[in-house]
């Protein structure tokens, strides 16, 4: 079983690389993590340990990443600049690396006003591009201060980008800046404008962003039109055209129509140059992910974990 880093950086990819967002965790403990992983594990190469997604407080990203790894799945540690200053961000990366976690995804993060505690103080001591460069420094064996780290942590540095948000023509240039800073993969925000995603990947190939950086477009699995309306209204940077919402709203079976939309988006994304795989965000929590991977011809990569891998 090749690991996530090897799959992403291999010059001749054998198959698409699949990642997924781990559902947010509040209570439930480790058994709930095992239960949620069981739905994802057969289909994914790595799972993102989220960091207070949408500016809501949840179980910490490092704790979540360690737990995911204990169940035998490779985590991608998400790091959000909104909540932590440079010291805390460096500590998160080093702390996770202590446990052998190598993949990180550097994000600026939605503002606190997008969350349920808008009165909180936002940090943004670094932005995502700066954090990528800081992580690259850690991987070379020093903190931002220059203080040495020996041995240096092994890191696979990633980030995100939104191909659908204005200014569209500039998005690849920003991605290039992230690549120059040290990013080797980009999980792209869900995009309901296939022409914009296609343009992003086309320009990416023309400018040399790819294949140097692996692109993983996001696919969101929803139940119907209501979820699309919610995302369009509430999620910063996401725009869902009315015709897509209407299409789902008018369908006799909204769940099936939503599934077909996701399959259509996934098929399109995988056809684009520079796309090395997909990143799934599953809001359905049913069998849709498995069905989608099957319909895409993607292999089941492993069985669901039986228990804590550390117990072996």
């Amino acid at each position: 079983m090749p690991n996530f880093a090897d799959l992403l950086t291999s010059p001749e990819p054998s198959r698409p690389v699949i990642t997924a967002e781990f559902p947010v965790m509040d209570g439930g403990g480790l058994p709930e993590i095992a239960a949620k992983l069981a739905c994802l594990t057969p289909y994914v190469d790595a799972v993102n340990a989220t960091d207070n997604a949408s500016a809501h407080a949840h179980v910490s990203n490092v704790a979540l990443a360690i737990a995911i790894q204990q169940y035998g799945v490779e985590p991608v540690l998400q790091l959000v600049c909104r909540d932590k200053n440079r010291l805390a961000l460096e500590a998160d990366i080093m702390g996770a690396a202590l446990h052998g976690i190598t993949a990180v995804s550097c994000m600026t993060g939605d503002d606190v006003t997008a969350g349920d505690e808008p009165e909180a103080r936002r940090v943004f001591d670094l932005d995502a591009v700066q954090l990528i460069r800081v992580a690259a420094g850690l991987a070379k064996g020093h903190y931002l201060s220059g203080r040495p780290i020996d041995p240096a942590p092994k890191l696979l540095i990633g980030a995100v980008e939104n191909p659908a948000a204005p200014p569209h023509a500039y998005r690849v240039r920003r991605a290039l800046k992230k690549a120059a800073a040290g990013a080797r993969f980009l999980q792209l925000q869900i995009c309901y404008h296939p022409d914009r995603l296609a343009e992003f990947t086309r320009i990416g190939a023309a400018t040399g962003l790819t294949p140097k950086v692996a692109l993983l477009p996001s696919i969101v699995l929803v139940k119907g039109a209501r979820s699309l309306r919610y995302m369009n209204k509430r999620v910063p940077g996401i725009h869902v055209p009315d015709e897509l919402i209407d299409r789902l709203a008018a369908a006799p079976d909204q769940r099936e129509a939503a599934y077909q939309l996701a399959l259509e988006q996934a098929t399109h994304a995988l056809s684009l140059e520079g796309v090395r795989g997909l990143h799934f965000i599953d809001f359905r929590h049913d069998d849709a992910l498995g069905r989608l991977c099957s319909d895409l011809g993607l292999p089941t990569v492993r069985s669901a974990p039986e228990g804590n891998a550390l117990a072996v």
Binding site: Q130, A165, P167, G237
Partner: protein, 124 residues
């Protein structure tokens, strides 16, 4: 004298660029649009949250600062235009409230953390 210069600078730049006296002015490379007016204080924007109509994720009454900066930078003389894509280092928060004119003249605003890589990391 340093305080006087800071006061004068603020008086000049506040009305025009809504200057936040960050002490590390990068107006020349951001199309003369102050990035510190970004609610996320991004130095390498824009973020992924720009609305479809170009307004700010945080403050929908304002156009995204970086959208304006990118648009305006295209109209700048070539060296400054190209600087838009520079990877700007983290802000030194100790310089808050100081005069960026003095910092420019003394070179203080170019000081970066010792661990800030100035060149691209070597290939994998």
């Amino acid at each position: 004298m340093a305080r006087l210069l800071a006061t004068i600078e603020h008086a000049v730049k506040k009305p025009i660029w809504d200057c936040r006296m960050c002490g590390q002015c990068v107006l020349h490379s951001t199309g003369l649009t102050c990035p510190m007016t970004c609610p996320k204080s991004l130095r390498n924007g824009p973020c992924g949250g720009v609305r479809e109509d170009g307004t700010c994720e945080v403050d929908p009454t304002m156009t995204c600062v970086w959208l304006k900066a990118q648009d305006r930078s295209e109209k700048m003389p070539r060296p400054w235009r190209e600087e838009f894509d520079d990877l700007r280092p983290p802000v030194d928060n100790r310089l808050q409230g100081t005069s960026s004119w003095i910092n420019l003249l003394t070179g203080r605003d170019k000081v970066v953390p010792a661990g800030w890589e100035s060149e691209e990391p070597p290939a994998d």
